[in-house]
């Protein structure tokens, strides 16, 4: 295969080209692992085991007379299927068991290859003599014949991963990494994302494995041992988790180490391999000790411009140097972002229309009956508050309505749809979204991304449209960012748009989390102690915002301890005590009842 690429490398010998092939193959491994680990936050110690599936497919199919293209296709598909299967198990495992699972998997697969060796060939060490492999009829004889193939696949894998990672899709992945529960409550089907990424990246590792078999002429367990997985892991960690360019750099550095030790330092080849391993092991320890973000950190200045170009947006400006603490937002009337279901905001509050109807809710924890037969209505366009002393069961009721807990008995109906037992993302899609008392922003994402990720129905969140409809994806992304900026302005947090959430104060985080909930466009908003843990002036700002959300026609339910908050904004208040609703109605009227005041304040 004489191509212009090869001629431009003519000054290199076949050995050098062989190293370039190796670096490109490791880049495929590392870039795909990085998407899984650095973006989606899913752990696997077994990339080389998926490579083994691809490698064995290529070798076996070649020995049966097929070309590389057939082997790679089969290897990709089989690895993808195994990736999805592992992903299904991984969804339900804690990290430590996932480490054990993938560790075992990475040991099993190369061993299975020995067992599955072609009996009539009878090699103990795997499938050998994988030479002169044809690729679409063209025989790959030398490393320079393979170079265009490795280059093409590395480029495809890199661009696909970059597109997946640096897009609305990747924003959801990063949210999954930072807080799976929180992103699910915002309406994203986290199972779908996790399985897609597990499957696709495993398939890509299968391609790398298939190519490495052609490169090394054998499909031997040693090529896909746990050590190989470690090398890939090291490349990702050293290069920088969450930065695909870092993985390219890492792959180049680690592959270059062998010829460097051999030729530059003059160490004999056998020992050079050992020194290379020592070097990357040591680099691994040093990097996670001194620079845990890797050589090229996620969102690094050097790569942000490149990524922005890929996304077709302007490079994000440097985050402004923010003062030590932001002023509490002044109570000013920012523009109310138009709700996407525009008509509803102008909709008059229909007296008595019920948005959410909870009936006969029961929930026990062990022997404790936390909630005993609670009925609650959330009136459309009104603020409903749940109050009561500690242990009264109000947070449990809140979680039952929000779908975080499944009731033992009873029903929750949202706009005529029974939602008890549905997943949080399904409930969000039906138009009800909750906030968390402890905020739960995505700490490593900017405030803007935190809000933008909540915007529903983005075309760029679909894997198919990401590649098939780039124009629609671009339009959708501009609209989502615009929407995010409007909601940030609404809560008075425009100045913090490019600040990572972890760097915001608690009060600021509460406001951003309100913007995030509002950006979902949900008509029913459940707020878990929106004013707790923040200071006076912030509380007032928060209450004004909630007022304005109600004026927009949305239905709000809050759990709150602070009686002054309740008095100011609640239209309907439910008092709970010992798992039951003991009174409901206007809070001012209710507080005239001595018993309730005593229960709540401890004194009259």
């Amino acid at each position: 295969m004489t191509s212009s690429i090869v001629t431009s490398f003519a000054f290199l010998g076949e050995t050098d080209i062989s190293y370039i092939n190796l670096a490109l193959i490791y880049a495929i491994y590392a870039v795909s692992l990085n998407l899984l680990l650095g973006y989606a936050g899913q752990v696997t110690l077994a990339p080389a085991a998926f490579g083994a599936i691809g490698g064995y497919s290529v070798a076996r199919l070649f020995l049966d007379g097929n070309g590389l293209e057939v082997g790679l296709l089969v290897g990709f598909s089989v690895a993808l299927v195994f990736g999805v299967l592992i992903g299904i198990i991984a969804l339900r495992l804690t990290l430590i068991w996932l480490v054990v699972l993938t560790l075992a998997f990475s040991t099993i697969v190369p061993q299975v290859i020995i067992v599955l060796r072609k009996p009539d060939l009878g090699q103990v060490g795997g499938l050998t003599n994988i030479v002169d492999v044809p690729f679409f009829g063209h025989v790959l004889r030398d490393p320079s014949d393979l170079l265009p193939v490795t280059l093409a696949f590395a480029a495809i894998v890199f661009l696909v991963c970059l597109r997946m990672g640096e897009s609305p899709y990747g924003r959801v992945l990063r949210a999954v990494r930072d807080d799976t529960t929180a992103i699910q409550t915002l309406g994203k089907n986290t199972f779908r994302y996790k399985l897609q990424v597990f499957g696709l990246t495993s398939g890509m590792a299968g391609i790398a494995g298939g190519l490495i078999v052609v490169q090394s002429t054998v499909a031997a367990p040693g090529t896909f041992s746990f050590d190989a997985s470690l090398a890939i892991f090291a490349i990702v960690v050293i290069g920088g988790m969450g930065n695909l360019y870092g993985s390219l750099l890492g792959a180049a550095l680690i592959t270059a180490a062998t010829p460097f030790f051999q030729n530059v330092l003059g160490i004999d080849p056998l020992k050079a391999t050992l020194w290379q391993l020592i070097a990357y092991g040591a680099a691994l320890i040093i990097v996670i000790r001194l620079r845990p973000q890797g050589l090229l950190p996620a969102g690094s200045r050097y790569t942000r411009d490149l990524i922005a170009r890929v996304r077709g947006t302007r490079p994000a400006p440097e985050p402004p140097d923010r003062g030590p603490a932001m002023q509490a937002p002044s109570v000013r009337p920012p523009a109310m972002p138009a709700s996407r279901n525009g008509g509803q905001s102008a909709r008059p509050v229909l007296d008595g229309e019920i948005a959410v109807r909870a009936r006969g809710l029961e929930k026990s924890f062990g022997g404790v009956r936390a909630v005993q037969g609670v009925d609650i209505d959330l009136k459309r366009g009104a603020v409903t508050a749940l109050v009561g002393p500690n242990g009264a069961g109000k947070t449990t009721v809140f979680n039952l309505i929000a779908g975080a807990l499944r009731p033992d008995a009873g029903s929750v109906v949202l706009d005529d749809v029974e939602i008890a037992g549905k997943r949080p993302d399904e409930i969000a899609a039906l138009g009800m979204v909750r906030s968390f008392q402890d905020v739960r922003l995505f700490p490593q994402m900017t405030a803007r991304d935190n809000v933008a990720v909540a915007v529903p129905g983005q075309p760029g969140e679909s894997l198919a449209r990401l590649f098939a409809a780039p124009a629609a994806v671009g339009r959708g992304e501009r609209a989502a960012l615009e929407m995010a900026d409007e909601w940030l302005e609404f809560v008075g947090m425009s100045g913090a748009a490019t600040t990572p959430a972890a760097a915001l104060s608690y009060g600021e985080q509460k406001l951003v989390s309100l913007a995030r909930v509002l950006a979902t466009d949900a008509q029913v908003i459940l707020l878990d102690e929106p004013a707790s843990g923040i200071e006076g002036s912030w509380v007032q700002a928060m209450l004004d915002l909630i007022d304005r959300v109600r004026d927009q026609g949305r239905t709000v339910c809050i759990v709150e301890h602070n009686m002054h908050v309740i008095e100011q904004i609640a239209d309907v208040t439910y008092f709970m005590e010992s798992g039951r609703v003991v009174a409901s109605g206007d809070v001012g009227e209710l507080l005239k009842d001595n018993h309730l005041a005593e229960v709540y304040f401890g004194t009259v």
Binding site: R92, T94, L103, I108, T181, I278, G281, L284, I288
Partner: protein
């Protein structure tokens, strides 16, 4: 091999010897993981260094038993050094970044880095000829126990491993140190509140656990030979036994699992080709881990 009563008994004895080894290394790995939460894959380095040191010492005329003791102490030193110089500062520096999950991953990655470095340094400087090292100064004689053939090395290994498990059990259950270790394991924060120096407990646990690994490594190496990558398979077995044994600081329970696996593996040679036994063992680990997704322990909230 045929399915005769004699063969079954012979394999039972082989399995018991093997099982005692699995039990000891399982207790070692489990102790460290349960108390400190460190997924200490670099456990393999304590194991390997001990075997190489014992080989070098016995080669130079030191007696087997003295070399065994030195190997245990060296292994303990390696474990303590890794905790003190790598894990602890690593988590102190980056601990705030991503909570428990990130801490676990950090330790796994660091420990794998340590294994790569250590294993290859040993290849370069301790086994430069690539042939490995044998334990000398040990006289291996056949022993006949009522028709069951073992070697004196088997008996020695079995006795040492069982003695270490018993000692660990007594330390954990009958001493003040053991009480402090168990307290740290259950709730380190609370242990600190009542005045236990948990950092010191971590170091002691790494010391004890690694000592067991080192001592177990010597007869293991004596049976074949010490090579730089010798720690990899034992650490997977140790992990398997530790995970199957549960994390309750109960060496007897963990040891029972170790014996069970050893005996199963030996008896399995009646049914499957020897080269598949490891595959079977890893598959058990895989299936066990996968089953956690659907029952009990490892299951996360469906989020």
């Amino acid at each position: 091999m045929n399915f005769t009563a004699h063969n079954v008994l012979q394999l039972l004895a082989n399995g018991a010897v093997l099982g005692a080894f699995y039990a000891a290394i399982g207790c070692s790995f489990s102790l460290i993981l349960t108390v400190t939460g460190r997924f200490h894959m670099a456990w393999a380095m304590s194991f390997t260094v001990a075997a190489f040191l014992a080989a070098s010492l016995t080669e130079n005329g030191v007696s087997f038993w003295l070399a065994l003791l030195a190997a245990g102490i060296a292994a303990a030193g390696v474990g303590v050094a890794i905790e003190r110089l790598i894990y602890r500062p690593l988590l102190a520096a980056g601990g705030a970044a991503g909570g428990a999950a990130s801490a676990l991953l950090t330790v796994v990655v660091a420990s794998l880095g340590i294994v790569i470095v250590g294993q290859n340094l040993i290849s370069l400087f301790w086994a430069p000829d690539g042939l490995g090292k044998s334990i000398a100064n040990i006289d291996v004689k056949p022993v006949d126990l009522g028709g069951i053939a073992l070697t004196s090395l088997d008996i020695t290994a079995f006795t040492i491993n069982v003695a270490m498990i018993a000692a660990l059990f007594l330390i954990l259950r009958r001493t003040k140190l053991g009480r402090n270790i168990r307290a740290t394991s259950v709730n380190a924060d609370m242990a600190r509140v009542v005045g236990i120096d948990t950092k010191r407990i971590f170091l002691i646990v790494f010391g004890i656990g690694s000592f067991i690994a080192g001592v177990a490594a010597v007869p293991y190496a004596a049976k074949t030979v010490a090579v730089p990558e010798m720690g990899f398979i034992p650490v997977l077995y140790a992990l398997l036994v530790a995970f199957l044994g549960g994390f309750r600081n109960n060496p007897l329970q963990t040891a029972a699992v170790g014996f069970g696996i050893g005996i199963l593996e030996a008896e399995a040679s009646l049914l499957v080709d020897l080269q598949y036994t490891q595959l079977v063992v890893y598959s058990v680990l895989f299936i066990f881990a996968a089953s956690r997704a659907f029952v009990g322990g490892g299951r996360t909230a469906l989020a």
